[in-house]
């Protein structure tokens, strides 16, 4: 049972299409697991459609209609958008299938520490980094603070921190007010997460602080 959901403000922005990609990806992967939030998004979509219906219509040039009619004439009986898109392979959320074509279990991980592995997916236009993260069973991420927001979505296994336990489908938001965030994966299975980090996090332990210059490479080291 999913316990940790996005706020209504984020669901609205997602429904309106005004959320940056980094956040949209995490929300999209969450709603694929969460029927409750899917229902909310569908409800919220009615706001968009009703607002559009009530706009004063803007007259369309005749040439535009001709252009569109010509385009559909060239399309022919059925084109490649024939069928609905297939579901993602294995346990990859649909929004990640183009970024993880080989599936969740064939990710080219980079070892960041004995228990932490990362794989960069992409960088958003706002600079947020979108990465996959694997914490080996029982493994721990070094104590860190956040200088920007970090969004984590659990895709496999579970992890916990001082505030609770997070399981498959749970989404977690952390920012600079969350001091000394120290996630630990559950003992029985590796934990695989999707993460979006707005700005580099800072390690706070004495030795870990030496790692701060390295985190441009990845946000997570041990």
């Amino acid at each position: 049972m999913i316990q940790h959901h996005p706020s209504i403000d984020r669901l609205i922005a997602f429904s309106a299409g005004s959320l940056p990609l980094s956040q949209s990806l995490c929300i999209s992967a969450h709603i694929e697991h969460c029927q409750q939030c899917r229902q909310d998004i569908r409800r919220l979509n009615h706001i968009g459609s009703t607002l559009i219906e009530e706009l004063p219509p803007s007259p369309v040039p005749d040439a535009l209609k001709q252009a569109v009619m010509e385009r559909i004439n060239q399309i022919g009986p059925r084109n490649s958008e024939d069928t609905a898109a297939p579901p993602g392979s294995g346990d990859v959320p649909r929004c990640l299938r183009s970024l993880l074509p080989a599936g969740l279990y064939n990710i080219p991980w980079k070892r960041l520490s004995p228990s932490i592995f990362g794989a960069k997916l992409c960088t958003d236009v706002n600079g947020s980094k979108i990465e996959m993260l694997k914490i080996k069973a029982g493994g721990q991420v070094a104590n860190h603070n956040h200088t920007g927001e970090e969004i984590t979505l659990v895709l496999e296994g579970s992890f916990s921190d001082a505030d609770g336990v997070y399981r498959k489908g749970d989404i977690i938001f952390r920012n600079c007010e969350d001091k000394n965030h120290r996630p630990i994966a559950s003992q029985n299975a590796d934990c695989i997460c999707l993460t979006a980090v707005e700005a580099p996090i800072q390690f706070t332990g004495f030795f870990a602080r030496l790692l701060n210059p390295l985190i441009r490479r990845s946000h997570y080291s041990s």
Binding site: A13, P20, R43, H46, T50, L64
Partner: protein
Amino acid sequence: MSAVNAIIDVKELQQLIELVARDRDQQAFSQLFEHYAPLIRAYSLAREPGAYLVADELVQEVLVKLWNKAHLYNSAKANANTWIFTLARNCRIDYLRRNGRYATEVDPEDLYDSLEDDSADPFEATQQKKTAQKVREGLKQLPVEQSQVLAKVYLEGKTQQETAGELNLPLGTVKSRVRLALQKLEILIRGYGQ
């Protein structure tokens, strides 16, 4: 300039989309164009006033998508207007993406795809119909200060932060106006954290 049609009722629009899907009916498509093109153009102009070329491009993309995807439309799942809104929103994101204002790595369609999953649930379909009705009736009765905030977010594509800046309001006020609106529209029906 095309004449703006008399209001067509949403059931008729649904039937027209079904005709396009089944028979590739160009007459039906033409009627859908007459109804939706001026609204989609207005939707684009709400975000970028004066950007007529952008608006015309969006109209073209959305209508071609309507033609190509009509057979995926299911009136039991969504009413016609809501379906068109999702096409227009996704095309808008795609436009921003092609112009470097949104990351390019993911197709916007993939972001919203999982919403199609609960199609078989008749209870959910009934609930959605009720909500659509409630939203249509309720939006007109919202105080302007609340509907204005929703319009900034949905039509102009603003974040709540940007909305607060433009209206010269604290962010908390914008958030509470949104919440009050959602309560009145009976969309906010459970507790929300974060």
